[in-house]
């Protein structure tokens, strides 16, 4: 076996079609988002650990880190981090539904997949409206 494979040059084997072959469908896009948001959260956990460590270090460093998070680039990162968390969590809940063997017909799959993206955006917007309201960035009548 080993001799045969080392003497003959390897012929290119047929590969199953990859991503670029398929027309994107919502469940496939949400599956990719689930993995991407998972990776985002993996490295985003550094932000949580950093914030906690800053608080444990002392008032000056805590104020410095809070100041960084409150800059526009900082807030863009935090909005992205919170959206990734919410999206990944909704995706996980969808997987819990599928784990029970229900919701696997195409109509339900589409509804659950669209639900993940729509609800994740709405919940992220709600979270940041709360933060903006809480910090007095928006007028109190909002």
């Amino acid at each position: 076996m080993a001799d045969a494979s080392s003497e003959q040059p390897m012929r290119a084997r047929p590969l199953s079609p990859h991503l670029q072959i398929y027309r994107p469908q919502i469940n496939m896009v949400m599956s990719i988002f689930h993995r991407l948001t998972g990776v985002t959260l993996y490295f985003g956990s550094l932000l949580l650990a950093w914030w906690l460590l800053a608080a444990a270090t002392g008032p000056d460093y805590f104020a410095f880190v809070n100041g960084l998070f409150a800059t526009w680039p900082g807030m863009v990162v935090l909005v992205g981090y919170s959206w990734a968390l919410i999206h990944h969590m909704l995706g996980g809940l969808r997987h819990f539904v599928w784990d029970t063997g229900t919701g696997l017909d195409i109509a339900s799959v589409n509804i659950l997949s669209w639900g993940t993206i729509v609800l994740s955006v709405l919940l992220t917007a709600g979270l940041w409206l709360f933060i903006a309201w809480q910090r007095g960035w928006v007028a109190p009548w909002l």
Binding site: G38, Y42, L48, L52, L53
Partner: protein, 126 residues
């Protein structure tokens, strides 16, 4: 398919002697995260921009600190398994794979240790 006794199949032990542990553990930690992560998000959103004294006072409550430590532990295990699957999916060189799996364990372990230390120090009022 049929070359396995029903008992062996029931035990889930093939030649690899392991099987659904990661599948089960990923869902177990996911279930914990579904409860604990929204709590942490709400807590942090409330504490956004707050003085350190307020943060310390909030974390000094045992329930808050315990929930945060539980979240960090559950999160770290969830992260390690998830990233391990991604590495095994995309990295096929044996050396690179072993190094990345090692780095994965160290990274998730380090994040957990740092975060838990910080929560405990804040909670104990140091």
């Amino acid at each position: 398919m049929a070359m396995i006794t029903p008992l062996k199949r029931a035990r889930g032990l093939g030649s690899a002697h392991e099987g659904p542990e990661h599948f089960v553990r990923q869902r177990l930690t996911a279930a914990a995260n579904v409860v604990l992560a929204p709590f942490a998000v709400g807590l942090i959103a409330t504490l956004a921009g707050a003085d350190l004294a307020v943060v310390k006072a909030t974390l000094s409550h045992p329930a808050v600190a315990i929930a945060l430590v539980a979240l960090v532990l559950s999160m770290a295990v969830h992260m390690r398994i998830g990233m391990q699957i991604i590495i095994e999916d995309y990295v096929h060189g044996e050396g690179a794979k072993v190094l990345l799996l090692l780095a994965n364990t160290f990274f998730t372990g380090a994040v957990a240790v740092v975060a838990i230390f910080a929560v405990m120090k804040l909670s104990f009022g140091g």
